[in-house]
C-alpha cells in the first residue's frame, strides 16, 4: 500500500478531492493540468454525474486512472482545484463489518477511537506516530443526500486526526444553512440508517499546493485594481485553461487592470496586454502605471513584456502565430462597455476621413490628451472577431480562453462561433457561473493544425473586424459541425440563431424580459 511500490506500467487509481466552489470549472482544470504535464487521465465515471454539482452534491470527488504518481504530484502543485489526492487501492469491503462502519457523524465524533480500532484488521503493526506519519491513510464515504430528508454527513476517518474536521462533512455546503443548524439530536435522528454508497480508502499522495494562490492574488490586497477586476480564484482557473507555462507568450487584448496577466505570469509565462483605454492600465497614481506596480507586488514585473494602448480591432501586430495563448474577459457592456474606434454609423457626427487643423495651426489629433472617437462594440461582433483573431495570432495548439456573458434563457452551445481551425474544449454542460437570468460561461478554444491535401499547413489571414450587422449567417453557427467547409455552412443557414449574448447590455439593463416563467437560481 506504500506509494513507492507503484508499478509504472499499470495505471493507478486516484481519488481527488476538489474545491467545492465553481464545480463546473474543476474537471476542465484538471484536464488542463493533465494536458500540460502530458499524462493520461481517465475519469472512472461518466462526466455528467460528476459535473452537475448541484444535483449530485456528493460527487465532487471521484476516481481517476493516471499513469504515475509523480506526474500527479506535479499537477497538484499547480491546479488550484485539488485539495488533496489519495491513491486508492481499496474500495468496497474496506470495512470488516459494513454495518458497524456506517456510523452517522454524530456518533462518530464520540467514537473516534473505536472507529480507528476497527481498522485493526489491516495489520498495520509499526509504531504509531500521529504527529509525523510516514504514511497517511484516508477514508471517504460517499453518501446520498436529499433535501427533504436531512441525513447525517459521511464521516472521514483518518489516523491523522487533524484531518477529521476538514473532511467530516464534505457536502455541508449543499445543505440549506438552516437545516445544518438544527442541532445534534435532529441530526442523529435523521442520520439513522445512513449507509455509504461507496467507500474509498487509500494513502495520501499530496495536498493541493495552489489553493493558497487564491489568497496571494486576492484583488483586495492588490496595489492596483479597478471595479471590473477579475477575482483571483476565477483568474487562476482561467490561467489554468490557457496552459500558461515557462517561456510561453500569453496576451490579453482587453487587459483592463491586468488581473489575468499576473496569474499567467505566475506560472512563468511572458505576458502582454492591451486595452483601448490606457487609463485602465495606468490608473491615477503618479508613481507609475498600475499594471506595473501590481506586477512588481507579485514579483512578475519581468514577465510582463509590455502593455500597450490600442483597439484590438485596429491592432499593430506585425504577423500571426506569435502567441501561445489569449486570455481575456471582454467588457460585456454593463459596468464597462466594449468600445472600438470610429464613429457610430448614423450618429450625430460623421466620421472624418481627413485630419483637422485647428486655428492655431496644430493638427487636432496631435494635441496633448487627444482621444479618438469610439463607438460601442457589439458582443456578437466581439466574440466572433475574437475567435478569428485567435486563429490568426495563436500557434497551433494554442488556446483562447474567455468569458462569455449570456442571457441564460437564450444560451445555446452553438453561440460559440464554430470556425475551421478552432476546436472547443468543454466537459458536460460547460463551465458557467450562474446569476439566475444571466450567466457567464468560460469558453476554451484550441487552435488545431489544418493540413490540405498536399500536406501543407493552412495559414489564416488576419480578421477584417467588419461588423456582422444582423447577418448572423456569416457565423456558420452549426452545432456539432466543425468541418467548416462552405457547403456545410450553406446548408445550415436555416439553423442560425441569435446568440444569447447578442445585445447583452440592452437586455441586462431591461432586466432580461422573458415570456417564460423565471427559474430558481442554480447553485454554483
Amino acid at each position: 500500500m506504500s506509494r513507492q511500490t507503484n508499478s509504472t506500467s499499470l495505471p493507478q487509481r486516484y481519488l481527488i478531492h476538489l474545491a467545492r466552489s465553481h464545480p463546473t470549472f474543476r474537471i476542465p482544470e484538471l484536464d488542463s493540468c493533465a494536458c500540460l504535464y502530458g499524462f493520461g487521465i481517465r475519469l472512472l465515471a461518466t462526466g455528467d454525474h460528476y459535473i452537475s454539482g448541484a444535483s449530485q452534491p456528493s460527487s465532487l470527488r471521484w476516481g481517476h486512472e493516471l499513469d504515475s504518481t509523480l506526474e500527479l504530484e506535479d499537477a497538484i502543485g499547480r491546479g488550484d482545484s485539488a485539495l488533496l489526492v489519495i491513491e486508492f487501492t481499496t474500495g468496497q469491503g474496506v470495512y470488516k463489518n459494513a454495518e458497524s462502519a456506517c456510523l452517522p457523524v454524530a456518533d462518530t465524533r464520540k467514537t473516534d477511537e473505536e472507529t480507528i480500532e476497527g481498522f485493526g484488521f489491516m495489520g498495520l503493526t509499526s509504531k504509531i506516530n500521529l504527529k509525523k506519519p510516514e504514511v497517511t491513510y484516508m477514508l471517504f464515504e460517499e453518501c446520498k443526500f436529499s433535501r427533504s430528508r436531512v441525513l447525517g454527513s459521511p464521516s472521514s476517518v483518518s489516523p491523522d486526526s487533524e484531518l477529521t474536521d476538514e473532511n467530516s462533512s464534505p457536502d455541508a455546503d449543499h445543505l440549506d444553512s438552516d437545516t445544518i443548524g438544527k442541532g445534534k439530536e435532529k441530526l442523529e435522528e435523521a442520520a439513522e440508517g445512513v449507509k455509504p454508497l461507496r467507500v474509498f480508502m487509500g494513502s495520501l499522495v499530496a495536498y493541493g499546493q495552489a489553493r493558497q494562490l487564491v489568497y496571494k492574488f486576492a484583488v483586495k490586497d492588490r496595489k492596483f485594481f479597478g471595479n471590473t477586476s477579475m477575482e483571483s480564484e476565477m483568474s487562476l482557473l482561467m490561467a489554468g485553461q490557457t496552459l500558461a507555462d515557462q517561456g510561453k507568450l500569453v496576451y490579453d487584448p482587453f487587459a483592463g487592470t491586468g488581473s489575468l496577466l499576473y496569474v499567467c505570469a505566475n506560472w512563468g509565462s511572458y505576458v502582454m496586454g492591451s486595452d483601448i483605454d490606457g487609463r485602465q492600465m495606468r490608473g491615477k497614481d503618479k508613481t507609475g502605471p498600475g499594471v506595473f506596480r501590481a506586477a512588481n507586488q507579485y514579483g512578475v514585473r519581468d514577465k510582463v513584456l509590455d502593455c500597450l494602448t490600442f483597439d484590438v480591432t485596429r491592432n499593430p501586430w506585425r504577423r500571426g502565430e506569435l502567441l501561445d495563448a489569449i486570455i481575456t474577459d471582454p467588457p460585456y457592456g454593463v459596468r464597462a462597455g466594449a468600445k472600438r474606434l470610429g464613429r457610430k454609423e448614423g450618429g450625430k457626427k460623421k466620421q472624418i476621413s481627413e485630419p483637422v487643423k485647428l486655428p492655431n495651426g496644430v493638427w487636432s489629433h496631435e494635441m496633448p490628451g487627444y482621444v479618438p472617437a469610439s463607438r460601442p462594440y457589439e458582443m456578437v461582433d466581439l466574440v466572433y472577431d475574437l475567435v478569428l483573431f485567435a486563429r490568426y495570432m495563436l500557434v497551433p495548439g494554442g488556446r483562447l480562453v474567455f468569458f462569455l456573458p449570456t442571457f441564460t434563457e437564450e444560451w445555446d452551445p452553438v453561440d460559440v462561433p464554430v470556425v475551421e481551425g478552432m476546436r472547443e474544449i468543454s466537459f458536460g454542460q460547460g463551465s458557467a457561473q450562474d446569476y439566475n437570468k444571466w450567466s457567464r460561461r468560460l469558453i476554451t478554444l484550441e487552435k488545431v493544425k489544418v493540413v490540405d491535401a498536399e500536406g501543407v499547413e493552412k495559414k489564416w489571414d488576419a480578421p477584417t473586424f467588419v461588423p456582422l450587422e444582423a447577418d448572423f449567417t456569416r457565423m456558420q453557427i452549426n452545432a456539432g459541425d466543425d468541418s467548416g467547409d462552405e457547403e456545410a455552412g450553406q446548408s445550415k443557414k436555416d439553423q442560425t440563431k441569435v446568440p444569447g449574448h447578442a445585445n447583452f447590455r440592452e437586455k441586462y439593463l431591461a432586466g432580461f424580459p422573458s415570456s417564460a416563467p423565471s427559474t430558481p437560481p442554480a447553485r454554483d
Binding site: R282, P289, L305, T309, F310, R314, N315, L341, V371
Partner: protein, 128 residues
C-alpha cells in the same frame, strides 16, 4: 518599457499605410537597461518570428551594436548559449520608457509615456 521584442512585433497600422510602415523608428527615446532573468528556450523559439534587420538597426539606433548585421547561418552558432544570451539582452533588457515610435511611411507618431505606448489611431486613420 517598450522592449525591443515588442517593438519587433509592432507595425504602423494606419489605414492604407502599407509602404515603409515597418520598423517604427524610435524618437527621443529614454532608454533604460533592466536585467532580466534569461529564458533562452523562449528566445530560441522566437527566432523564426524575428525580423532580424529591423532588430539590429533599431538596437544600433539605441546605441547597442552587439548583434551582427546578418543573422548567423550556422545553426550551431545561432543556437549557442553565448549567442542567445546576447540576443536575450537586446530583446528583453533594453526598455524605452519615454519618447515615441514614428512611422517612416505615413509619419504617425506613437507616443510612449511611462513605458506604455499609445498605439491608438486618430479618427481619420481608422477607416471602416
Amino acid at each position: 518599457m517598450v522592449r525591443l521584442i515588442t517593438h519587433n512585433m509592432l507595425t504602423c497600422h494606419v489605414k492604407n499605410c502599407t509602404k515603409d510602415n515597418y520598423p517604427l523608428v524610435f524618437q527621443d527615446a529614454a532608454v533604460e537597461i533592466r536585467p532580466a532573468e534569461p529564458n533562452l528556450g523562449f528566445i530560441e523559439r522566437f527566432l523564426p518570428k524575428l525580423e532580424w534587420s529591423a532588430l539590429v538597426s533599431t538596437a544600433k539606433a539605441l546605441g547597442d551594436d552587439s548583434l551582427p548585421e546578418v543573422m548567423p547561418e550556422d545553426e550551431e552558432e545561432l543556437r549557442s548559449e553565448e549567442f542567445l544570451t546576447k540576443l536575450h539582452h537586446v530583446l528583453m533588457e533594453i526598455h524605452v520608457e519615454e519618447g515615441a515610435m514614428v512611422c517612416r511611411g505615413c509619419g504617425h507618431v506613437y507616443q510612449i509615456s511611462s513605458g506604455i505606448p499609445n498605439m491608438l489611431l486618430a479618427e481619420h486613420e481608422v477607416g471602416r
